[in-house]
């Protein structure tokens, strides 16, 4: 921290042994200067031999890079409905006399909001210079404010502030019995690549990242594809609000994850793997590096793995910088290739044209963990659980209005009601299954099952009790998508901010029935015509609200035919600021 206050360099490579990568380079610069000075982007352009415009476009794409200096203490409050509380953010702004988004004049501190940081089981949370503080309340805010005003280095803050202790409330197939290190690999060598892939196919394992593609088929397609190299990529971007199960797997089951990736490498004949970790989880980097080092020492990574002649494979870590879209697999590959995370045109798919145009398997963290277990324990062991179309178990990240937020592992097919009973959610009016991109489930439908054939989910379960205003919840999600849209295609780039405008207008009590109809028409267009999964799901919350909770919107509508978007009172704000007036007389009724 001494270092930090004096603005000394702290290049990534030296600190965490991360590979040279544009995102890592830029992060180091942002750390040092609190922004990316133009002179520095020029230098990076020379070091990495990339066009200057590529550097500039990347800086402007990822939320964690800025053009103007942030504070020496940079605080980012989550604005998620589970791990966010912007009232607390405003409280801290007052304590530190700083305005949201504007660095204090002494350069000491800046405070802003950010999309869900995956701490949903820990209540209101924030990021401070890449570290996480959870369980925020007024007492903690005062403590934080004092540390900051006294310029206490972060290392000297009470360690308790940074402790993250996730509860696993229910263990199932994967969590119950951890795999012995190397056991899946030994089993894989015995089976051989073909039989290994057959086993995966027979197990019925489908991707845990949301889309649910059959994993064995994905590996088989990739294996069959011609290419100079094959790659294995783990998607640890976990950006869907309400999801934090990959964080737990990365913390407590990293060996099994890497074992799964190595098994995949063996099946595909890949030599290089990448773990793409969301920037919000940067605090996990030392731990992950440690596990990788252990595995190299144990001959579980590197050359001639476990004595298997000619089987060479290693894994590098790449850390993102605040962009939900980089969880979309082709955007993730673009990001790995040091570019903006813009989803590619498909076909071709990553299995034939992935990282650097080579055949690539991209799987979710949980998928790799499950694959390792299956290869070690057999297809039938897995298939005996779950439903016909959804074999095995699913890790759920449960948060919101319940008494026991945390991780639950269920066999597929469990009902929403069962989950609610187990986590102590007695007064739920609605549950968001699968995060904002998923489904808003009304209590009359709590008998539905969690499974690919009914309610598919990547693992996010957000519970909303009777006292919650669902319009605010849906508005929160709609803002999230508008903020995270990559901007590549027209329907989503323009459509998501428009949906935000409509919803803001309705929430503020200025919307008419006409606005609602126009919003619904636009929502359907955005859903049907967008380029990638982000746009195709961004309107789900609005459409679900209108279908299942029509009264929530109806109550807010003005009963007149037309009301302009233009708000005369709001337009007078600049004048009020200039004249230092904010009294009743300075407002229109």
């Amino acid at each position: 921290m001494q270092q930090l206050l004096q603005g000394e360099p702290c290049p990534d490579q030296a600190v965490n042994g991360l590979m040279p990568h544009l995102l890592h380079q830029l992060h180091a610069i942002q750390q040092q200067y609190r922004y990316i000075p133009t002179q520095q982007s020029k230098q990076v352009s020379e070091t990495l031999q990339l066009p200057l415009a590529q550097i500039e476009s990347v800086i402007d794409f990822y939320s964690f890079f800025t053009r103007t200096p942030r504070g020496q203490y940079t605080l980012l409050f989550s604005n998620c409905t589970s791990c966010g509380d912007l009232a607390l953010m405003r409280e801290l702004c007052q304590l530190l006399k700083v305005e949201q988004g504007i660095t204090r004049t002494d350069g000491l501190v800046s405070i802003d909001e950010t999309s869900c940081i995956g701490m949903c089981d820990h209540g209101a949370s924030l990021l401070i210079n890449d570290r996480v503080i959870a369980h925020l309340d007024s007492t903690r805010l005062k403590q934080i404010a004092e540390y900051i005003e006294s310029k206490t280095p972060l290392d000297q803050w009470s360690p308790e502030l940074f402790s993250i202790n996730t509860q696993i409330y229910k263990k199932g197939l994967l969590l119950e019995q951890p795999l012995e290190q190397g056991s899946a690999l030994t089993a894989a060598f015995k089976l051989g690549s073909d039989a290994l892939i057959q086993t995966l196919k027979q197990s019925g394992l489908r991707g845990r990242g949301g889309a649910g593609f059959t994993t064995g088929m994905k590996w088989e397609f990739c294996r069959q594809a011609q290419g100079a190299q094959h790659y294995v990529v783990c998607n640890a971007d976990e950006g869907e609000p309400g999801t934090f199960k990959d964080r737990i797997l990365l913390t407590d089951h990293a060996h099994e994850l890497f074992e799964g990736m190595t098994v995949a490498a063996y099946a595909l004949g890949a030599q290089q793997g990448y773990l793409y970790l969301r920037g919000e989880y940067r605090y996990l980097v030392p731990h992950i590096q440690q596990v990788l080092t252990e595995r190299r020492q144990q001959q579980l990574l590197g050359q001639n793995i476990l004595g298997q002649q000619g089987f060479t494979f290693d894994i590098e870590l790449v850390v993102g910088a605040g962009a939900y879209i980089c969880g979309e697999e082709s955007a993730l590959l673009e990001s790995l290739e040091q570019k903006r995370g813009v989803p590619r045109i498909r076909p071709p798919f990553p299995v034939t044209h992935g990282y650097l145009g080579q055949p690539t398997v991209v799987n979710n963290v949980e998928t790799f963990v499950a694959a390792a277990h299956i290869v070690s324990k057999g297809a039938n062991w897995f298939k005996a659980h779950g439903t016909e179309q959804s074999a095995g178990s699913k890790l759920l990240s449960i948060s919101g209005d319940c008494t026991k937020a945390g991780i639950y592992e269920y066999a597929f097919g469990v009902t929403v009601q069962q989950v609610l009973d187990d986590c102590g959610a007695s007064d739920a009016q609605a549950v968001q299954v699968g995060g904002p991109s998923g489904t808003l489930v009304h209590r009359k439908d709590f008998g539905r099952q969690l499974a690919f054939e009914d309610l598919a989910t990547g693992g996010s379960i957000m519970i909303y009790g009777q006292q919650r205003d669902l319009l605010k919840v849906v508005r929160n999600f709609t803002h999230f998508f508008a903020h995270e849209s990559c901007g590549f295609c027209t329907p989503c780039r323009v459509g998501t901010p428009l949906l935000r405008k409509y919803l803001d207008k309705i929430e503020a009590g200025h919307g008419t029935a006409y606005d609602r109809e126009e919003m619904a028409r636009l929502a359907k267009l955005v859903k049907k015509r967008s380029h990638c999964g982000l746009g195709q799901t961004a309107a789900n919350p609005i459409l679900d609200l209108l279908e299942h909770f029509p009264h929530v919107c109806e109550q807010r509508l003005l009963h007149q035919e037309y009301e302009p978007f233009f708000n005369l009172d709001a337009a007078l704000e600049t004048t009020r600021q200039l004249s230092h007036r904010d009294d009743a007389e300075a407002h229109l009724a």
Partner: protein, 247 residues
């Protein structure tokens, strides 16, 4: 089955041949069928971003400019529903930027404007964004007015794929998307863009315009005063169609 029937698809019921590797758009243009498009030019690699070429393939929404043609595919193109979708997309592009057509030198030669007419657009319909965007007048022969940019990426691709340069790039995220210039100062005047480059001519709207050539062709005699956008896009296949007639 004979060879011809094997490589055919239908567009609005009309049988259209294609060859391996062609997209739906390629096949359509070759057959003289117009599928509206903004970010596509046959000589450049497709981008697939504007979504004006949206068609329904066996009931699923696809971008004609990127989706490979395949045997027996049934494509819906010129339907009232798709016209409505495309009209909405054009309205969205209009409200997203700052398009003051009467003052723009591109009026009458602008593909966005022509598509608006073609699709029966009567108003912007949605609340305008009024974005603040930078104008770059640093180049001696050209002006970059980002107010009118629709993020189609044609200038980016033309520069890379035809001119053999790398003058433009798309930057930013979401509604903050914008075109940037690959030069030390980020200014066009500092780049190696030449007024004869394809990138200097390809802009479908009035975002990249020549300097010192104002209103040379009178209104009433400009490209889309004389031809519909469908005629012009099919007939020419010509990358230079937005050039002034008397150049």
């Amino acid at each position: 089955m004979n060879q011809l029937l094997e490589n055919t698809l239908t567009i609005d019921g009309q049988v259209v041949p294609f060859s391996a590797g062609q997209t739906i758009m390629d096949a359509a243009l070759a057959a003289g069928i117009y599928i509206p498009h903004l970010c596509h030019k046959p000589e450049l690699k497709p981008h697939g971003s504007c979504k004006l070429c949206t068609v329904d393939v066996d009931g699923r929404s696809m971008s004609a400019c990127t989706f490979p043609a395949s045997q027996g595919m049934q494509v819906a193109n010129n339907t009232p529903a798709l016209t409505e979708v495309r009209k909405t997309l054009v309205q969205m592009l209009f409200v997203e930027g700052n398009h003051l057509c009467p003052t723009c030198d591109k009026t009458g030669d602008c593909t966005l404007q022509a598509l608006g007419y073609h699709l029966g657009m009567l108003d912007g319909h949605f609340p305008p964004f009024y974005p603040r965007r930078e104008v770059d007048a640093s180049h001696p022969d050209l002006i970059l007015d980002r107010d009118r940019c629709i993020m189609c990426g044609l200038c980016v691709r033309a520069s890379q794929q035809i001119d053999g340069k790398n003058v433009f790039a798309l930057s930013g995220r979401g509604a903050q998307n914008h075109v940037i210039v690959n030069s030390p100062s980020g200014k066009l005047g500092d780049s190696d863009l030449n007024k004869d480059d394809l990138a200097a001519h390809i802009c479908p709207v009035g975002a990249i315009l020549p300097k010192n050539h104002g209103h040379e062709v009178p209104i009433g005699r400009r490209t889309f005063d004389l031809h519909t956008v469908a005629e012009s896009d099919i007939a020419t296949f010509n990358l230079h169609k937005t050039e002034h007639h008397d150049d």
